[in-house]
Symmetry: C2
Subunit: 468 residues, 2 copies
């Protein structure tokens, strides 16, 4: 066991650097035993390090005894080993490894951390594409087994790629906004009152009282706008006590939130948000092509398409498209999930984009703080954004006038006492502003064309799952 | 009220851009009325935009009527106005404004958002340095008034500077770690079991069961290491149900967390963390000098000093320094807050640094998962880091062997059933690793030499405060 007994000058070479350039060099490598196969006087190991792997050969000869071959053959899969070996070119490419041109001729092998002999899931099964009807009879791993054993499931090349790309989404989001002059803020998650009406909120015991978990950072983002920060963003957990067991709902997810003061029209903000998403898509396609292709091997999918500038449709136009496709819907009716998806397909056919803005939602289906459209009292200055036909962002111009805000809250039957602090924030001069909240896991899922949000949440939380 | 009636081509000039270069130009500006002072046929306004302000003059003449002067004089402070005016050079510098060389001769003025006439606190009072004994009798604002009216308090130049710098801490932390090859992860905040023993944890009602708020992301960071991500970091809220009402405790704060696999010695990780902090300090001093100086005006303070490489002291050396200064302490006793501060002063005198590492804590005062020192069973492979004599990071090599982890948990009297999932994470091969957690608000507070953590948390949470 490495307990920091001593410092060492030994250099460990990365598996990804084992190429022909290192041929005939003696190297040390630390990696996991991915597979091992004994065959008479020799043993073939596949050594894995993150998404890279290399073949290693332990053969009876000058450097290895019969005992050593037996020892190597008996190392449990997923154990971590330190191996000293000579890099040798191979005549025939090794198709099953990422390092196809070389193999490692092992001289020494030590087990650094041993894995238990029975793995709860096999990594090779976990990255197998799911064939329609499972005709070929080879095993795949079901989702609960994956999630119950997440530490192992996250080691697959697919998981490594998904979560490296997700780290990239956060990085690109912030990089773009910092360049646009935004300030990052941190907002509290424990709040004293359920500001958005009180439904779907988790209760926390707070010393001798009750408190709640914030369903969004919206109130705090808006307070920062009223406090002259002008352009703010935050990344953090949001909590929804919804008993929804669907492919796209979680009880805890990560919100990428934006709020911004504008001069004359909320489209100034809407366009900044859409451009931020476009910069994320471009950055992912430029910097994470390897990860995208790795995920595609298991989950094949068309590349994500988008336009510049982003396509903007008004809600009434979307209604017309849906009606033309045979859907019956009222003017002030919200989109159902199937209609959202159908609309996504219609938009893709007509405009060839997987990303678009739907603007000017009916006022009736939006929260009380949404600014009504001054030209049409049944519409509002609000918008959603969609990726592959699913909503990833909801946003709007917010009402910044305490008088109008009070009227709208009363109209919605909201107890004014509960939102007093919220309304009071606007009493000392408030700039017009708009914003929106993006679901991180949905962006990753839909960009990669995955089908379940649990694939893009490392440790997902839903009504039935709180572990690991 | 701006309700996005129409888009406009009108360009709004930033107050910070109102300089001699713009002399004699007609410009539009949107800003808050910071002060107004009527004087016969004219009215002087100070217009403020974030940390910048400019003097504006409304005088009876070609462009302004008597009524307009009266109107301007009656605009409530903190209201937001749109002003059209001519930029005029002034003969004598205007000492009370950031834009000292010009003033604005107002031609038109519109109120965009009106503030209520009585402000709960005056911005000029809120940025006044607190003089010893308040001899000069001028008002300052107490902390509860500030926090109760945070939207206004955050508008001061000091608050603007503090939170812009804090945004910079997060940015520099991530920038440094992304460059070092770390992956950003998102960890759940709602957890099924209180992993660190159960004390000081908030309980959440989770549908029909109970859950808890995570006291740190540590278990999840470690699972990511066991899942081969090798180097991970995260930024997120951490929750402590401690009934501590001190200058440096919050019930919810922001953790900057790092975890990293190492090859041979945990110092590899400790040094990466210390270097990350040094990069943050350097970046702040390079990029946020204006903000540092703005805060210093209200809260004078020596510049933050640090060494490269970072000073590392062992716990026994610190004990010797304290004993030499007359403190009586046992070898396995933890540092009290006063002793921490005294040690900080002794270290500053001897080594001229405000930042150092204290390494090799007694095993007895660290959590059960801390790796014992293989050379001295009473010591451990653990460290704290200090800024201006206060702890900002606690870290260690973690035990990665399930057998030893079980033994240590039993030794601490921990119910093994409750930490089963944690221990099981190490059963399928775990690399040696170490890490640590940094308190964001503490870093900002101590870097700027502030004295209360509530000054560096936008919306602080403590046992007595849950609002706004």
């Amino acid at each position: 066991m490495i307990q920091s007994q001593e410092k060492s000058d030994r250099v460990l070479v990365r598996v990804s650097n084992l190429t022909e350039k290192k041929a005939d060099e003696v190297v040390w490598v630390r990696a996991r035993v991915h597979t091992s196969r004994a065959k008479g006087k020799q043993c073939f190991l596949v050594l894995r390090q993150q998404q890279f792997n290399v073949q290693a050969l332990v053969a009876v000869g000058d450097h290895a005894s019969k005992q050593m071959v037996k020892f190597a053959a008996n190392i449990n899969k997923e154990s971590i080993v330190d191996v000293e070996g000579v890099v040798r070119k191979v005549n025939q490419k090794i198709g099953s490894c990422t390092q196809q041109d070389v193999e490692l001729h092992v001289q020494k092998i030590y087990v650094i951390s041993v894995a238990e002999p029975r793995l709860p899931l096999q990594l090779d099964d976990a990255i197998r594409p799911e064939v329609e009807g499972e005709e070929d009879g080879r095993a795949t791993v079901n989702q609960d087994t994956r999630l119950d054993n997440r530490v192992i499931d996250l080691r697959t090349s697919t998981s490594q790629a998904v979560f490296r790309l997700q780290s990239g989404v956060c990085h690109l989001f912030r990089e773009t906004l910092i360049n646009k002059g935004f300030v990052e803020i941190q907002t509290p998650k424990i709040i004293s009152a359920a500001s958005e009406g009180g439904a779907n909120v988790f209760t926390v015991s707070y010393f001798k009282n009750n408190a709640y978990l914030a369903q969004s950072p919206q109130l705090y983002k808006q307070m920062c706008i009223c406090a002259d920060f002008e352009k703010v963003f935050c990344i953090g957990p949001v909590f929804r006590a919804e008993d929804s067991n669907t492919h796209r709902h979680l009880t805890e997810f990560v919100g990428l939130d934006i709020e911004m003061a504008f001069n004359y029209h909320y489209h100034e903000v809407m366009e900044e948000i859409a451009d931020t998403l476009v910069q994320i898509f471009k950055g992912l396609q430029e910097r994470f092509q390897t990860e995208i292709q790795t995920v595609n091997k298991q989950f094949p999918c068309e590349p994500f398409k988008f336009l510049e500038p982003t396509l903007r449709l008004e809600y009434c136009e979307a209604l017309a498209m849906l009606r033309e496709a045979g859907i019956e819907m009222g003017d002030e009716e919200d989109l159902s999930t199937p209609n959202e998806k159908l609309l996504g397909r219609l938009v893709k056919e007509k405009y060839d984009t997987d990303f678009y803005i739907l603007d000017k939602y009916p006022l009736a289906v939006r929260p009380f703080y949404t600014m009504p459209d001054p030209r049409n009292p049944k519409q509002s200055n609000s918008y959603d954004m969609f990726m592959r036909g699913e909503e990833i962002l909801s946003g709007a111009q917010r009402i910044h006038d305490p008088q109008l805000l009070t009227e709208r809250a009363l109209h919605h039957g909201i107890d004014l006492e509960k939102i007093k602090a919220y309304i009071d924030s606007f009493r000392f001069g408030a700039p017009p502003h708009a914003g929106g909240g993006i679901g991180l896991e949905r962006v990753t899922m839909l960009f990669l064309g995955l089908h379940n949000i649990r694939q893009t949440s490392m440790f997902p939380r839903d009504p039935k799952r709180l572990t690991p």
